[in-house]
């Protein structure tokens, strides 16, 4: 089945937050593209709205691979039925920080926290657990966050 992780390449989970901040969908597609070019298989986990924004934008699945429900992903990782090499958590609110801390606790993946939004610094202050942080004030314009992501270049690590 197309999009399923292969056993030969690294895998990455993208944990989407609430899609109310526009840059999330754009940066998620950009990150998926960069990961795939580095032979890293991306899997997206989000709520229905966040996932649907991506699926509708990429109907032929040029970028997207597997897309799964966020609660299902948390359950499978918690139950040790699923895990990834890399995990990117999109954060612009308190719930995003909670999901990132959860991923840090239940998954063995290297954790990246992608923090954005009008008040991104408020969320940055709450992230006291180990992660590689990629943060920028970005709401409608994805370029500041893209720049921060490019500087870290997690696909090359």
């Amino acid at each position: 089945m197309a999009g399923e992780p292969t056993t030969n390449s690294k895998t990455a989970l993208l944990v989407l937050g609430c899609p109310q901040v526009p840059v999330q969908t754009s940066i998620a597609l950009y990150l998926i593209n960069r990961l795939k070019k580095s032979d890293i298989t991306p899997v997206v986990a989000g709520n229905k709205a966040a996932n649907t924004l991506l699926v509708v934008a990429d109907p032929d699945r040029h970028y997207l691979g597997e897309v799964m429900d966020l609660d299902r992903a948390v359950a499978q990782i918690s139950d040790k039925k699923l895990d990834f090499d890399l995990c990117f958590v999109f954060i612009h609110n308190d719930a995003g920080v909670s999901y990132a801390a959860t991923m840090g606790a239940i998954s063995k993946a290297k954790l990246y926290t992608i923090v954005y939004g009008e008040h991104y610094e408020d969320q940055v202050k709450k992230i006291e657990f180990p992660s590689t942080m990629i943060a920028a004030k970005a709401v409608h314009n994805p370029l500041p966050l893209k720049k921060a992501l490019d500087e870290v270049a997690p696909w090359a690590a």
Binding site: G46, N47, D71, S78, A95, Y99, A101, A105, K126
Partner: protein, 91 residues
């Protein structure tokens, strides 16, 4: 976590931060246990910064339930068996 909708729950706090939820449990319930993220309460894997506080009040279990767009809810559910199971973990 679809089973939450089928539970007979009461919302104690809504649209809270995770910290508000934890502080509320510790301030309002004499009895609570600390668990790690991913711990299963009923069929819900709890989300949050460790440690996550779960309140116990008789047969009532009070636990956080986080949604990406709506923050953290504190839910109160009556279930003798689940309260007993959680209480046993304290020993």
């Amino acid at each position: 976590m679809g089973c939450v909708e089928s539970m007979n729950y009461e919302i104690v706090l809504r649209d809270a931060t995770f910290k508000e939820s934890r502080d509320y449990i510790k301030a309002h319930f004499k009895e609570f246990i600390d668990v790690q993220p991913g711990f299963k309460v009923f069929d819900v894997h709890v989300i949050g910064l460790p440690p996550i506080a779960i309140g116990l009040d008789g047969d009532f279990v009070i636990f956080p339930y986080t949604k990406p767009c709506h923050g953290t809810f504190l839910l109160r559910v009556e279930d003798h068996e689940e309260a007993a199971r959680l209480r046993a973990l304290k020993k």
